[in-house]
């Protein structure tokens, strides 16, 4: 069959579009690396962990410890996923196995609406409602705990929607078999449904974790932004993402470069999690 010339132009322009879209990630990585180089060579990678504190714009006396921010990012992510993981999965179980069809549909729309609310609105809501509540427990209010709560609230919809998709993929035969055996609802879900949907549920948790690590606005607005390793849930903290958002505006030279280093670190964490997620997804598809 003869290939028409308009078709040839079309195919090549489509290829060009895909090549552009496909190489964006590489472009982003290149720029992050390029801008970080000065930070890594002039400051030295060891100082990100060993400096006594974060005082980035004081000339020769600058200190570049990223430890408080890394600690804050890890603590808030773990806290959020510990809360949002179980709640999200159970909400999906509710939607799939407990709620009557009409209620399930209504509940699903609520979760979808929550997923569409912008992070800055979550942050604002946390600032005006949660922070004063936490302040009553223990001042100052803007704290790791407030950050964990807002983050958890943000990632519950992500976890719930993906977990629901995973539960839907459990073969109906499994459920019929469990019923035929006279298993209770609890036993069926825990012993039959969860093992069968394990990979899919894993994907839900991993994607939730990715959102929590990368979230900026919500934690920026409720965490207090103090660069100290937190010793309790009520201490104010500053995450890696919030640190970039707060300081890129005025950072110059090494300071700016170190901010790009922390961006690069975030990017590497995300790439690793994407790999884990794809592994799980492939296994979910095979199961």
């Amino acid at each position: 069959m003869k290939v028409k010339s308009t078709d040839r132009i079309l195919v090549w322009s489509l290829r060009a579009a895909s090549a552009t879209a496909g190489s964006l990630v590489l472009l982003i990585l290149c720029f992050l690396v390029l801008e970080s180089v000065e930070g890594i060579t002039r400051v030295g990678a060891g100082r990100f962990l060993n400096d006594p504190g974060w005082h980035p714009s004081q000339g020769a006396e600058s200190e570049f410890s990223l430890v408080p921010m890394i600690a804050a990012t890890i603590a808030s992510t773990i806290g959020a996923i510990l809360l949002a993981g179980p709640v999200g999965v159970l909400a999906a179980v509710f939607c799939r196995f407990y709620a009557p069809p009409k209620l399930a549909r209504a509940f699903r729309s609520i979760v979808e609406l929550l997923a569409g609310i912008p992070s800055v609105v979550y942050g604002f809501w946390g600032l005006v409602t949660l922070v004063p509540l936490v302040r009553e427990l223990a001042p100052p209010g803007a704290s790791l705990l407030a950050g964990i709560l807002v983050l958890a609230m943000m990632i519950v919809p992500t976890v719930a929607l993906l977990a629901f998709a995973a539960l839907k993929n459990v073969p109906p035969g499994h459920l019929e078999g469990a019923t035929a055996l006279g298993l209770s609802r609890w036993t069926t879900i825990v012993k039959v449904v969860f093992p069968s949907a394990a990979s899919g549920l894993g994907v839900a948790i991993v994607l939730g974790t990715m959102r929590a690590i990368g979230e900026t606005m919500a934690v920026l607005m409720v965490c207090g932004n103090i660069t100290k390793v937190p010793s309790s849930l009520f201490d104010p903290v500053r995450t890696l993402t919030a640190n970039i958002a707060l300081e890129l505006g005025y950072a110059t030279q090494e300071h700016r470069a170190v901010l790009f280093v922390s961006g690069l670190a975030l990017m590497i964490m995300i790439v690793l999690l994407v790999f884990v997620q794809e592994r799980l997804q492939r296994r979910a598809r095979l199961a």
Binding site: D7, L14, V87, A104, F107, G116, V121, T241
Partner: protein, 302 residues
């Protein structure tokens, strides 16, 4: 996907045999309470959040609020300049991401069947792109568009940064839309000796239109909700932008700035948040309904 037969066991009948296994009764009850509790917690959180924004934001919104310029750092006045800047950023974002996204989605769904190496590379890199945190897009946009290309803090830089950010979601949903078009259409077009390009323009795109629009709306929603990627690309000047090279403040950044940096800006922050949430709810609602209508329509005709 059409449901082949009604499943024998649905949620309602699951565990019908629980009376036979009485030692599980307690565990069953506890688990049920946890499940209902989680659902209630999610619903309560939703009502609390939306209720707070609607109740406190409603008073701030008026025609006046939407059409007048912000005064005294946003404490007084309205959000007209903010709306214009948001539209400008969105316009740039769509002008770049639609052709790129449509082209890539067409390539992935129509020209890279099977295990094509380029298709696999593009897909993998889009998967990573979808996970990149928005603040990292902000870093990249600042280094690339603002500094390296010399656009400075401008609506153009912000729009281009957002274009990179919405590409994965745009491509994924457009591709889904294209794949939902039955293969018969393509075969019939080939039998009529239509060229590939005519087939795409005359058959594929019209048939997939609702899916494409839904994908577009999801992209718009994502772009409108974004804040962190814009702080260091489009900036936060709240004057009326005169060209795409001017800095402009998006709705989401206005909320952030009023809440964090402007004492006494809370009332207008609520108002702006209500406008933003309202816009997004409408966009997402229309998008999901288009998708559902589209998918069920396909199944009936196939």
């Amino acid at each position: 996907m059409p449901e082949p037969t009604r499943p024998l066991v649905s949620g309602a009948t699951l565990g019908a045999g629980r009376h036979g296994a009485s030692q599980n009764n307690l565990a069953d009850t506890v688990f049920g309470v946890l499940v209902w509790g989680s659902a209630l917690a999610v619903t309560a959180g939703f009502l609390w959040l939306v209720g707070e924004i609607v109740v406190s934001g409603f008073g701030a919104i008026s025609w006046e609020f939407l059409t007048s310029e912000p005064a005294s750092s946003g404490r007084a006045g309205g959000i007209s300049t903010i709306l214009v800047a948001t539209l400008g950023i969105l316009g740039i974002c769509l002008a770049v991401s639609i052709p790129l996204g449509l082209g890539t989605a067409l390539f992935l769904s129509e020209f890279s069947q099977g295990e094509n190496r380029m298709g696999r590379f593009v897909r993998a890199s889009l998967d990573v792109l979808a996970g990149v945190p928005s603040i990292v897009f902000g870093l990249f946009g600042n280094a690339f568009f603002c500094v390296a290309l010399g656009f400075g803090f401008s609506i153009l830089s912000g729009g281009l940064t957002l274009a990179c950010m919405v590409l994965p979601i745009l491509i994924r949903s457009i591709e889904l839309g294209l794949r939902a078009v039955p293969n018969d259409y393509r075969v019939a077009a080939a039998a009529l000796d239509l060229s590939k390009s005519r087939m795409i323009v005359r058959v594929l795109l019209p048939a997939a239109a609702p899916g494409l629009i839904a994908g577009l709306l999801l992209g718009i929603g994502r772009a409108t909700a974004e804040t962190a990627a814009l702080i260091f690309t489009s900036g936060y000047v709240d004057r009326m932008p005169e060209s795409v090279f001017d800095s402009g403040r998006a709705l989401s950044i206005h909320i952030y700035d009023l809440a964090m940096n402007v004492p006494g800006g809370e009332a207008n922050a609520y108002g702006t948040a209500l406008v933003l949430v309202g816009l997004l709810l409408v966009i997402n609602f229309v998008a999901t309904h288009l998708v559902e209508r589209f998918v069920s329509g396909r199944i009936q005709s196939a």
